[in-house]
């Protein structure tokens, strides 16, 4: 109620509703929120059922460490909503946090970046979730387009630009020209699959079970996509499956490289597929300019080198790749006000 009135007291925001992290960009302020997409729920039937205990970084610290009546869940999976209720609650919390405590609850215009491969049902769920969180108007934009604009690619030119956004749940590759997507593909491979691959590798080769948080730490510290001259090591702890007791062991970067081969080949395959499907003129432009990497996956060591070797094209990593999508969304929101219809917001 009174959303339009409350809108005068709200800032328009761009949300990168990611599987791993949610980022919010506010006009003239930049990235104001970067928190994990995790919600902790307490289930106590005697006290009115399920209640939300924590959201974001606080909830992430509870992942895998909760007692029976508390569950830490990630409401987003593969780039789309897995749990509508908790996504809405999480968005509500983030929007409120961005606007602070005010007399009138915030009701901003919200642009949400969605994976290119998401279905209409998934898009509608995201839209309704944002509306339920208090947004007075919700626009959706494809993540590759937002990533390209956020990375600073000249997408408005009649020349091809290729962007590869490796997120937590999906990897999106797109060829963009004249503010439109010429070709795009979305593979449901991302940072989560890397973590999963590491967990499986350790269980298979060491007979030790490690948690997702440990796997993520291994990936960030010694993970690599291409063999390097230097071999790095890390000492981690997990539960020995045969003995049932915690054990410490050491992993090196070559082992992690081996563990990550499967998801990495999936991403390389998607890029090669995109290059095959790109019209020749635009393909030539891409060969001249190179492929720009964005998203948290771009921070994996030597992933640019891997793609360079596999495709034979120059590969660049955008500056601050983690925030490209959110920043691009914010820029698109501004441009759409100045030039309505330029990006075809839904």
């Amino acid at each position: 109620m009174f959303k339009s009135l409350r809108g005068y007291f709200s800032n328009d925001v761009s949300i990168d509703l990611g599987t791993a992290n949610t980022l919010i960009y506010v006009r003239d302020k930049g990235i104001v929120l970067n928190e994990p997409s995790v919600v902790a729920i307490r289930d106590e039937p005697s006290r009115g059922g399920k209640t939300i205990v924590a959201v974001g970084a606080e909830a992430k610290s509870m992942l895998g460490r909760t007692p029976g009546h508390i569950t830490a869940v990630r409401p987003m999976k593969d780039g789309v909503i897995a749990d509508f209720t908790y996504t809405e609650a999480m968005l509500q919390y983030f929007i409120k946090k961005v606007h602070g405590n005010r007399f009138l609850p915030a009701s901003p215009r919200v642009l949400v970046c969605v994976p290119y491969g998401s279905t209409q049902v998934e898009r509608r769920a995201i839209k309704e979730s944002a509306e339920g969180a208090g947004a007075r108007a919700v626009y959706l934009i494809d993540e590759p387009m937002a990533a390209a604009v956020g990375a600073g690619l000249p997408v408005h030119e009649p020349r091809g630009s290729m962007v590869l956004d490796i997120g937590g749940g999906t990897s999106e590759v797109a060829v963009i020209s004249l503010n439109g997507i010429v070709y795009a593909a979305s593979a449901r491979i991302g940072g989560d699959r890397f973590d999963e691959a590491i967990v499986n590798y350790v269980r298979r080769n060491y007979g030790i079970l490690i948690g997702e948080a440990t796997a993520e730490r291994i990936k960030m510290e010694i993970g690599s996509a291409y063999p390097g001259q230097q071999v790095r090591e890390i000492s981690v702890k997990g539960r020995n499956l045969s003995e049932g007791v915690p054990r410490s062991f050491t992993l090196n970067s070559n082992e992690i490289l081996e563990a990550l081969q499967e998801p990495l080949q999936g991403i390389v395959g998607a890029v090669k597929q995109a290059l095959e499907q790109t019209p020749p003129e635009l393909g030539a432009d891409v060969a001249d300019r190179g492929i720009v990497l964005t998203g948290g996956g771009a921070l994996l060591k030597d992933i640019d080198k891997l793609l360079m070797e596999e495709t034979g094209l120059p590969v660049l990593i955008a500056e601050d790749p983690l925030t490209c999508v959110a920043r691009g969304g914010g820029r698109i929101l501004e441009l759409s006000q100045e030039h309505p219809g330029s990006f075809g917001l839904q």
Binding site: G152, V155, E157, M308, V315, L335, Q337, E338, H339, S342
Partner: protein, 342 residues
């Protein structure tokens, strides 16, 4: 001393020694070239390692970064080249930012901007919304004030409620302004005649006598007889009563209405009016043009043979019976002292 530090020192010393000969060695391009030459790397080897066109590498070494389409490419290739040569990426980017000939950042203005300029109405819309909001608030304030003023100052409705009307004898009149009273006394009949009724509100009306002084603002509904032609016969008790001026309101002219039950016959019809005791007040065939007035408070029972030809008024207000009291042309109902039909 590390290898990186040695490299930086060597390259800077070389740049100083050849600064007059090779101006291209100014950073960051000069440092790139110096580092590459120091490592003995031919440009073709860098091309094959970075998959970058040779002309772009040469442009970078000559600080001609404007050949790139956008800063993202210039900075991206510079970062890669520096990383490949083992130079500090941050230092190189800082030197790059200090250059004057930088590629222009994309504005993302769509090609359709050549179309007629979009006029931004958002400011006007915002102002209009605030103006409407302000009007609504002011309107609410006025409305609130209008409903909270002293009730004495509010005009009393014309159709006032009848509270008492004794059949016989004088009725105490409400207090009147002496001036107004004396002004009206010339037109007022003798006090011996019983008035048709007294009202608690200053709306006191005579019966259709045709002579109704001091009724300049008479409501047609409240005083239908005033608009009707002069009636020939008047029952006892019906008389002209002047309008009463309310002393509290000060010269507030009120309308006059017919008192008691008045039956105007427009066409031949059988009419019966019975008192509460069953006494016949009117009974028999009445002819067109006749008018009968029954004073008193009622209740009465009224029976009309041809209801459409007879008009019944009580204290100046027309009595209308609903269809539930009608059987064909005949209408039969009761009317009480407040004019309620039942």
């Amino acid at each position: 001393m590390t290898q990186g530090e040695e490299l930086v020192e060597t390259s800077s010393s070389q740049a100083v020694s050849t600064v007059t000969v090779l101006p291209v060695l100014t950073p960051p391009g000069g440092r790139l070239r110096a580092a590459r030459e120091l490592q003995g790397l031919p440009l073709d080897q860098v091309v094959s390692a970075l998959r970058v066109e040779k002309k772009l590498l040469e442009a970078m070494e000559a600080n001609r970064f404007e050949v790139f389409d956008a800063p993202v490419y210039a900075r991206g290739y510079l970062r890669q080249y520096a990383k490949f040569l083992g130079l500090s990426v941050e230092d190189m980017l800082a030197e790059f930012d200090g250059l004057s000939s930088l590629p222009v950042a994309p504005t993302h203005v769509p090609l359709t901007s050549a179309a007629p300029a979009f006029r931004d109405w958002s400011g006007v819309k915002t102002a209009a919304k605030f103006a409407l909001l302000l009007l609504a608030v002011l309107g609410s304030l006025f409305w609130w004030r209008g409903h909270n003023v002293n009730p004495v100052s509010v005009a009393v409705p014309v159709a006032a409620r009848v509270v008492a009307s004794p059949v016989d004898g004088p009725v105490p009149m409400p207090a009147k302004d002496p001036v107004a009273d004396s002004a009206n006394s010339a037109d007022t009949p003798s006090a011996g005649g019983p008035p048709a009724g007294a009202v608690d509100a200053p709306s006191l009306s005579p019966v259709s006598s045709g002579a109704t002084p001091a009724q300049p603002t008479a409501n047609p509904l409240a005083n239908p007889a005033a608009n009707a032609p002069a009636e020939p016969s008047v029952e006892s008790g019906s008389m002209a009563v002047p309008s009463v001026v309310d002393a509290a309101l000060g010269a507030k002219t009120q309308s006059s209405v017919a008192a008691g039950l008045v039956i105007d016959v427009r066409g031949d019809s059988w009419v019966g009016v019975f008192s509460s005791t069953g006494e016949r007040q009117v009974y028999g065939m009445q002819h067109a043009g006749q008018s009968r007035t029954i004073s008193g408070r009622g209740p009465w029972r009224v029976v009309l043979g041809k209801a459409d030809r007879v008009r019944v008024t009580f204290n100046g207000q027309q009595v209308t019976a609903g269809p539930e009291y009608r059987r064909g042309d005949l209408v039969s109902y009761h009317i009480d002292a407040t004019g309620r039909v039942y």
